[in-house]
């Protein structure tokens, strides 16, 4: 799987009702650390069936950012069974991203 772009319209289906854990990357195009983390997320998503990675642009999707209290980016939020179970703010290493969702 590759990283899926999520908006308000498919958030419920892709994130809340997902069968597998979801790593949601709240980001923006103007955010340098977000852009730096993108290739790491692409690599983790590639061929991964254990969990999925979604990308949410906070400028386009300010309602989602608001709903999940995102006030610093990059912000990674892990959802399991529709519930937030983990969160990390700021640029982190690829291993640390994987650990966030794999536990």
């Amino acid at each position: 799987m590759s990283v899926i772009v999520v908006t308000k319209s498919n958030f419920e289906a892709e994130v809340l009702k997902s069968d597998v854990p979801v790593l949601a990357d709240f980001n923006a195009g103007w955010c340098g650390p977000c852009r730096a983390m993108k290739p790491m997320l692409d690599e983790l998503a590639e061929g991964n069936t254990a969990y999925k990675i979604v990308s949410i642009d906070i400028d386009e999707e300010d309602e989602l950012a608001d709903e999940y209290d995102v006030s610093s980016i990059p912000c990674l939020v892990v959802f399991k069974g529709g519930e937030e179970v983990n969160r990390s703010v700021g640029l982190i290493a690829k291993d640390a991203i994987a650990e966030l969702v794999e536990g």
């Binding site: 103007w30 955010c31 340098g32 650390p33 852009r35 730096a36 983390m37 790491m40 950012a65 209290d69 995102v70 006030s71 610093s72 980016i73 912000c75 969160r87 703010v89 700021g90 640029l91 982190i92 290493a93 690829k94």
Partner: protein, 304 residues
Amino acid sequence: MFDHDIIVVGGGPAGMTAAIYARRAGKSVLVLEALSCGGQILNTPDIENYPVEAHISGFDFSQKVYEQAKGLGAEFKFEMAVELRDEGDEKVVVTNKGEYRAKAVILATGSANRKLGVEDEDRLVGRGVSYCATCDGNFYRKKTVAVVGGGNTALEDALYLADLCQKVYLIHRRDSFRGDDTNAERLKARENVEIVYNANVTKLIAEKKLKAIEVTDKNTGDVRTIELNGLFVAVGRVPENNNFAGLIDLDEAGYAASGEDCHTRTPGVFVAGDNRAKALRQLVTATADGAMAATEAVKYVNER
């Protein structure tokens, strides 16, 4: 057995420039970067003071330098250096994943945000506490925020936020500013800015998110509660030299005590960039350090 002629610890502008110079001198180079190439400059949306490009984002700048260094044959590994050992002719860098050996090492580790050091600060990062006004200011549009600090960054942050936010408090532990006079005067002229002098932030009040701070007047001991949505911490930076303090001398603030030649007290170990003691920490002085440290490291390797 040497893996490389030169290992560069840190893939920011200083480290990557060092890699470029060392490769052009024909040395094999490994760059060890803990996160992603660029370092602190990644947070800068628009660089306007580096020669050649009138405008470039910190991310694009970092990518270009990375491609340049890689194109010249520098090797990059994304690992965190935790220790440096001097075995005479051999320097050993220990990372979270392995050990690497080289004839010379350049420490270009940069610096990290200095924290306030109050309870719950870490937990509230991204929930009201931020270290980057230009990154996160937009989340606080028309809201109330405070900036802590008295240096240029704090003043610039407060000015930036004053354009976005309903109200900006500037909490400063002294009674005057060491930052740029113009910025201080500009701030004082803003109607939505209130400067709180002689005060320290002593408590963060939060449920799920930050909702208020307590500030204590350092002369009178009076405590004042300020309700707000966001707190921007701009109290300086901390050089990342601690893992290597056994081999290099540090000044009182923790910066590597080294001259313009980038030497340290350990032959074959050099420093470059923001973690070195110097008068001006800018992109252009970081890259200049990289060139100097690499040139000295190459000389050292050649004389072995």
